[in-house]
Amino acid sequence: MPRPVKRALPFLTLCIALFALGACGSSSNDGGTAAKVDDGAGGHRGGTLSLLTSQDISSLDPGITYGSLDLNLLSAVVRTLYAYAPDNPTDIVPDLAASAPQVSPDGKTLTVRIRRGVKFGPPVNREVTSRDVKYAIERGFNPNVASPYASTYYGDLVGAARATGGPIAGLQTPDDYTLVFKLTRPTASLVAQSTVLPLSAPVPPEYAKPFDARSPSDYANHLVSSGPYMVAADRDGTVLGNGYVPGRSVRLVRNPNWGAATDDRPAYLDAVTFRIGGSTTVSGQQVLAGKGLVLGDSPTPALVKKAYQTARDQIFFSPGAGTRYAALNTAIAPFDDANLRKAVAAALDREQMRRIRGGEIVGDIGSHFLYPGVLGFEEAGGLEGTGVDFLADPQGDRALAERYMRAAGYADGRYTGDETLQVVGLAGAPDSNDAQIVDQTLQDLGFKTQLKLVDTTVMYGRFCGVPRARVHVCPNLGWIRDFADPQTVLNLAFNGKFIFPENNPNWPQLNDPAINRAMARGEVTVGDQARADVWGAIDRQITATGAAIPWLYDRQPNVFSADVRCVPELWNQGHCDFAYTSLK
């Protein structure tokens, strides 16, 4: 799923500052991870952690939300069937589930057993059953909830095609602790992985149905917890105005019904408070200087520099924060010509793109689209790359670029056609700098360009995500997975069947029949290793088309106070996991 590759990054400049951070091929070799991932032991039990964020969360409803900060919050409040341990973003572990998922050999049946003794928080207070998980998934199809990914991942359930919030035949609960997924296609492995998303967190139907009957549903304002923490609420369970004041604060307190015996997580903290609003610049300084604080926004480059230089154990660069790439519109001239695409890819200096963001610290040079932590990454070539010649040299290969230009029919190695390229990038450093590097590269190859720098919503909503806008190059795109399965990185982004007139996720509008067929097969491949192999191969194929130029495997910096023993969620951009983090 294409989420914005970075969190709310304010538009302050100062990439130059990051030159000092181990740029220009310095020898800093710790891979940029300043603080180490640990299990939080060593801190004490108790205390309140405060998270400062300038942007409000988008929703508390586990059926709706999927932004990284929202996931960070929900991971402590509700329990999904499976989840990732903070330090392992690739392999799922049982959370609400009692044991590993059972996938039938034909891949069309998934069986999950649920732990006993997990209880809902107040005001529901009873034990969680498989029927609660069933309802949670079914409500995703209710138009009043309109989960963005229910049909994507659970659409293969028998009866899901007609589902509008009522019972789905393919979702069966033979007893209180067993859930069986009957699928029309062999996608059980994918479904098992997809349960890490909050939609699979249990929702008590008798409590939630009245809220879900409203359009839109306001269950979010009455959220019931199943995890170690709950959003503070009044006696009726109303969260809005109590634990959640929109635009101001969210307050998490311990769920009195949470049993440590049912959960592997230590849950040291007594409470977590989100303080919403304010400016990232100031919040960042407060976090560095203060106590018990964590920064929820992406820190400004100046702050990253300061933390890295003066408080190295207060900053953590979380790997696996997504792949950054520049998309070339394959549907219209001139980039319907693969040779021209490859020429651009060969000419682009990806090292420079990274340097302007701060150098090695900010991530590894990207050479294909699956990134570290995602299944299939190694199968696609890992950090070495897939072996295509036009991405072989991270600093670009001018001679090769010219050869591709000539292969495209431009004898001088420079474009002489009529098209003026529309290039749309993001305003604000360092993204605007990256856009300008791409723009310059295009001009060096002889293209005439028109560069527009806009904000994120406009870039996606009006230009790059709208085929009609006829944008030729989008240099500031990026992709984060939904979960470790490689399909979530490649399918929507490069499959021809997902080219939509608006809200289009397949930005290069790649529509290669061979690749489409391979992806169709990949969707129904069973077994994690098999899927890794298949999608790894697809990644190679996509890379070979040159439809998009990958250039960075992003690392997300996170900043926290000196007394915070932060346990970063490597699966979620490095946000501190509340159920593991403690205060010294």
């Binding site: 294409p2 359009s215 105005g241």
Partner: protein
């Protein structure tokens, strides 16, 4: 007088309807962001997107949407519900208003208390260091961006990140009812920062007016009567020079009550300005509509109040 006020109020209502229509056009007809898309994310299929649109009521014809909004407002005093939190817009506004009012009123008090003596003294001591300081300081105050001033203030005096920790830092605002002392101390820096620009403008304005007024005939008469210089300057001079400032202040108050978004953001004060800004980021149109209407309301009321105040202050205007 009553008839006059009534007429103005009715006109004000017409204006509010126009403002709501304009806001509606800007956000619904010419949108820069689609709230359904923002909520759906780039993952959602067109079907899901359509579903979300429908649940938010965005797929209905524009006139129907506007009519619903207007009738809800007029007949039920209902401003709608936030797309994102489903909290009622009215409750959000009510929740945020005290903070904005606190910020505005405190800033006003400071700028009046500082600007008036400064302006008067600068006028009566033209050319001296007081005058030069005032004029120079005013230039600085007018040019310095509020956001930057706020940052500087925090980096100097905030007790968490400042060089000389004196006052509570950003995000420390609490409502008066919760902790009066913290409410007060957390607002001191924001008040000073917000008041800065206004003080500068008003001091300069007053200085100019005073210089003019002090050369008027009636000031000469006051002196000829044997009044003390103090009385001449403050009772006669200031009284005449201050009228334009009062009207200007009224308008500024009206504007500020609509939310001082930059100050609120830097200092983390949960006021109307921040609400408005966050709503814009989320394309949360009902909230945007609510904050815009509220701001328009304040401006209209301020205009009416200012006209009335002017008539009160300057009896010559009453015959008009």
């Amino acid at each position: 007088m009553a008839a006059y006020v009534l007429r103005r109020v009715l006109w004000g209502l017409v204006l509010l309807v126009l403002v709501s229509l304009l806001t509606f056009v800007v956000f619904y007809v010419l949108p820069s962001a689609d709230p359904a898309q923002l909520r759906a994310g780039r993952n959602a299929s067109p079907a899901t997107l359509a579903q979300i649109r429908e649940s938010l009521g965005l797929d209905r014809p524009l006139t129907a949407q506007y009519w619903t909004f207007l009738s809800q407002l007029a007949f039920h005093a209902n401003l709608g519900y936030s797309y994102f939190s489903q909290a009622s817009v009215g409750s959000l506004l009510v929740d945020r208003l005290p903070a904005t009012i606190s910020l505005t009123l405190g800033a006003i008090v400071i700028w009046v208390v500082v600007a008036v003596p400064l302006g008067v003294v600068a006028a009566t001591h033209r050319g001296t260091w007081v005058d030069k300081l005032t004029t120079g300081g005013a230039l600085l105050g007018i040019s310095a961006p509020v956001y930057w001033l706020g940052l500087v203030a925090l980096y100097l005096f905030a007790d968490d990140i400042g060089k000389w920790p004196l006052l509570p830092g950003a995000g420390s605002y609490v409502p008066f009812s919760e902790d009066a002392w913290q409410w007060l101390t957390s607002l001191i820096l924001p008040w000073l920062v917000l008041a800065c620009t206004f003080t500068a403008v008003y001091a300069r304005l007053l200085r100019g007016n005073m210089i003019e007024v002090l050369s008027e005939d009636y000031v000469r008469t006051a002196r000829a009567k044997g009044l003390s210089e103090r009385r001449v300057v403050w009772r006669h001079g200031l009284r005449a020079a201050v009228t334009p400032l009062v009207t200007l202040a009224g308008l500024d108050i009206g504007l500020l009550l609509g939310g001082a978004v930059l100050t609120e953001t830097v200092f983390g004060i949960p006021g109307i300005g921040q609400l408005n800004y966050q709503a814009i980021v989320h394309a949360d149109y009902p909230v945007i509509q609510g904050t815009v209407l509220l701001a328009a309301c304040f401006v209209i009321v301020a205009n009416i109040a200012v006209d009335i105040a002017y008539a009160y202050l300057d009896p010559r205007a009453r015959t008009a």
